[in-house]
Symmetry: C2
Subunit: 256 residues, 2 copies
């Protein structure tokens, strides 16, 4: 049955979407059947794979809040072994609409149950908040990957995030574990980057993955071509780092 | 009476907090009495001014959802003419709690009414979402400043944001206007930055402010010292740009 990974951090702009798209593409390249779930109303993961959310009619919203079967909403991406559950425009109203729903924290989990056996990996891209959409991802997933930009505010938010994950493990999902923290947009010329990286490794030691994703302009150019960095420029430092990240993640101990 | 400015963009990590802190400090330097309201549960604006949200007992949450008078929650910052309404830990639950409240969109507006006459400018730092907290900021403010990182995903989200602002102007706040869009973390060596800047100026022409904020490592170092960039290093390119931004904003036509 599928290993489900929530990629989350309430700090904005730390590389959640970029990590979700490129890690999913790398896992597919390793011949793992992978589903990417776009749970962010911005729909950046969908856009990054050439599916513009404004053009979608059905997606994550209709599956989580409507009564569409997930199999009807999932699309192929043109990349072998990679499928996408795209964001649709109504997802931006979902946070408020979920509040008064029954089983509001488990809607995504229930929706995904029917396809669990079909995929090897399911990756969920989360919005920059600790609201009900992210909560749904954290009750569905067995594992969490935390992209961490090597900047001061990002470090500040980490303890709040870890506290939230522990609380969810105690109340809503006892098997939830942190698979790891991946340092993103690392700039070896910047003292701040090295300082933050050192602080995190000191406090969280082996939870911090060995693979570090460098700041690399080719990575930020890829979305404007609707492609993962791995397809836009496989040889750039960013793509090579995401391939290494996938290899490291495949070897790690997962909670299932 | 005070001019109220909401600084918002649902895209994460585009420089909302950095712009709010440094613009507020520059306005105070121009002898304008300025209040910074931290409406983001992450509390980065509070941290950037040396007020760690986890240590606060009362702040924006208690004013918007509790029954604390705003005058009791506002603190001095040590910077002449700059005051802060800090975030407090409970703000992370506010989005969900607001849903079932009366007048849920107007709670901040009502709270600020009692102090409007005391300040020249009130700047509101918003979370990276178009939820009820941001909605409160957009019903309270007469003007919106949109920080825009010169990257592809940030550009994608701009039309969704402008659509939301138009909708709020029609239904909840008829005087709401876009004061301007400020380009942030501009890297003149990057083709992507220049491309995005050109695209935005083409489509939104004079809504895009002349002042561009360059990517500048001193700006990202300042928060770890609990200071605005203007105090950490007044001579760096980032600080100079924020001073120019304040001068440009003071000259623009405001909706009151
Ligand atoms: N390794 C990298 N090198 C250069 N740019 C990067 C890298 N990773 C991400 N970016 C760029 O940084 C910006 C933020 O990344 P991204 O949108 O993936 O973060 P996010 O955490 O998903 O943001 P949000 O909080 O809005 O969901 C994007 O414009 C992206 O293209
Ligand atoms: N001009 C700049 N040059 C270099 N770094 C910057 C600049 N402006 C902001 N930063 C850094 O970029 C990161 C994102 O900025 P900031 O936190 O202000 O964005 P935000 O939009 O408030 O994020 P969020 O969506 O999480 O609220 C921070 O680490 C900040 O220090
Ligand atoms: Mg994202
Ligand atoms: Mg912020």
């Amino acid at each position: 049955t599928a290993r489900i990974l929530a990629i989350t951090n309430q700090k904005g702009g730390v590389g959640k979407t970029t990590t979700t798209i490129n890690l999913a593409t790398a896992l597919a390249a390793f011949k793992k059947k992978t589903l990417l779930v776009d749970l962010d109303p911005q729909g950046n993961a969908s856009t990054g794979l050439s599916f513009h959310p404004q053009e979608r009619r059905i997606g994550t919203y209709e599956v989580v809040l409507g009564d569409i079967d997930i199999a009807q909403a999932v699309v192929t991406t043109g990349i072998p072994d990679l499928w996408l559950l795209p964001a649709s425009p109504d997802l931006s109203g979902a946070e408020i609409e979920l509040v008064n729903q029954n089983e509001r924290e488990y809607r995504l989990k229930v929706a995904l149950e029917t396809v669990m056996s079909y995929y090897d990996y399911i990756l969920i891209d989360c919005p920059p908040a600790l609201g009900l959409l992210t909560l749904n991802a954290l009750t569905t997933a067995g594992n969490v990957l935390i992209p961490l930009q090597c900047e001061y505010y990002a470090l500040e938010g980490l303890s709040q995030l870890i506290k939230t994950i522990m609380r969810i493990r105690q109340s809503l999902n006892s098997k939830l574990e942190i698979l790891g923290i991946v340092l993103t947009m690392f700039d070896k010329r910047s003292g701040l980057s090295s300082q933050v990286a050192e602080d995190v490794r000191q406090t969280l030691s082996d939870k911090v993955l060995q693979t570090v994703i460098p700041r690399n302009v080719r990575v930020s150019e890829a979305p404007s071509h609707g492609k993962p960095a791995l397809l836009y420029d496989i040889n750039c430092l960013g793509s090579q780092a995401y391939i290494k990240l996938a290899a490291e993640i495949l070897k790690r101990k997962w909670s299932t």
